[in-house]
């Protein structure tokens, strides 16, 4: 099975299929919205004998745009939708084996939907929890 960097990059590749959204596998110094950033939250080892299953929990942080801008709320709505061309869930799950690198993955939920502050600017954002079985 794949190493963590490959999984992280695979998730970013899937996320990057959303038109106009930049997806990165590593946290940038100055994120420019709209951007999706893949972060690893935890790893559960030994799900099966002989290392047969490792469960990775990722959080994809989506920064949509400045909260003051019109249309940003609607854009966030479309990113959080379970389906549609801007759906983060649909994009990440578009290739559930990451080109055969993992067994399966699932976008479980979107949380922390609201505003965050970066460099004194308020942005709309959301966090997507992704579980990867590898």
């Amino acid at each position: 099975m794949a190493d963590i960097t490959t999984i992280r990059e695979g998730l970013a590749t899937n996320l990057g299929t959303i038109s106009g959204l930049r997806a990165v596998a590593e946290i940038p110094d100055n994120p420019t919205p709209p951007i999706g950033i893949v972060n690893m939250e935890s790893v559960e080892y030994d799900g099966a004998l002989n290392g047969g299953l490792v469960t990775y929990n990722f959080v994809v942080t989506l920064i949509v745009g400045r909260a003051a801008e019109r249309q940003m709320q609607r854009k966030l709505d479309s990113y959080c939708s379970p389906t549609g061309e801007n759906s983060v869930k649909a994009a990440i799950e578009s290739d559930k084996t990451l080109s055969g690198e993992v067994y399966d993955l699932r976008v479980e939920r979107a949380t922390s939907i609201g505003s965050i502050t970066i460099n004194d600017q308020t942005y709309l954002a959301a966090e997507f929890t992704v579980t990867v079985f590898a």
């Binding site: 099966a48 004998l49 002989n50």
Partner: protein, 137 residues
């Protein structure tokens, strides 16, 4: 060898390694209790060992890939198979990683199991047929 945390016990089914799809493996050996209580038992029951039996219990992760565990078991229900289990996280039999070999009746298989969002798993419990052998080399 001392106490150990289970991470890599080896499990094979009909000669093929299935360990990477096994989350739990258990072999239980039993002996029947035969009551031999009599008037000389001084008010206590007395028992001796009777026929021995065993059970192999395995928790699997479903996998329908070519040659994978679900595809393998699908065709084996109702047949006699051979399960080997190597304890102590071993891959070969030794004094500290003994290998148990059991002939079992593959009497169940659950091809579909799991709720939405769960990893698909299934459990089996096969009765042994005949003796269970034990090897350290």
């Amino acid at each position: 060898m001392a106490k150990y945390v289970v991470t890599a016990n080896t499990v094979t089914l009909n000669g093929g390694t299935v360990s990477p799809n096994v989350a739990r493996a258990e072999l239980v050996l039993n002996s029947a209790e035969v009551d031999v209580t009599d008037f000389g038992s001084d008010g206590w029951t007395e028992v001796i060992g009777g026929l021995k039996s065993g059970t192999v219990s395995l928790d699997f992760h479903s996998d329908f890939g070519a040659g994978a565990v679900s595809a393998l078991l699908e065709d084996l229900v109702g047949t006699i198979g051979t399960v080997t289990l190597i304890a102590g996280n071993g891959t070969a039999p030794s004094a500290t990683t003994p290998r148990y070999t059991a002939t079992v009746l593959i009497n169940s298989f659950t091809p579909i199991s799991g709720a939405v969002g769960d990893l698909s798993t299934f459990s089996v419990s096969f009765p042994t047929s005949g003796p269970v052998s034990y090897a350290t080399a």
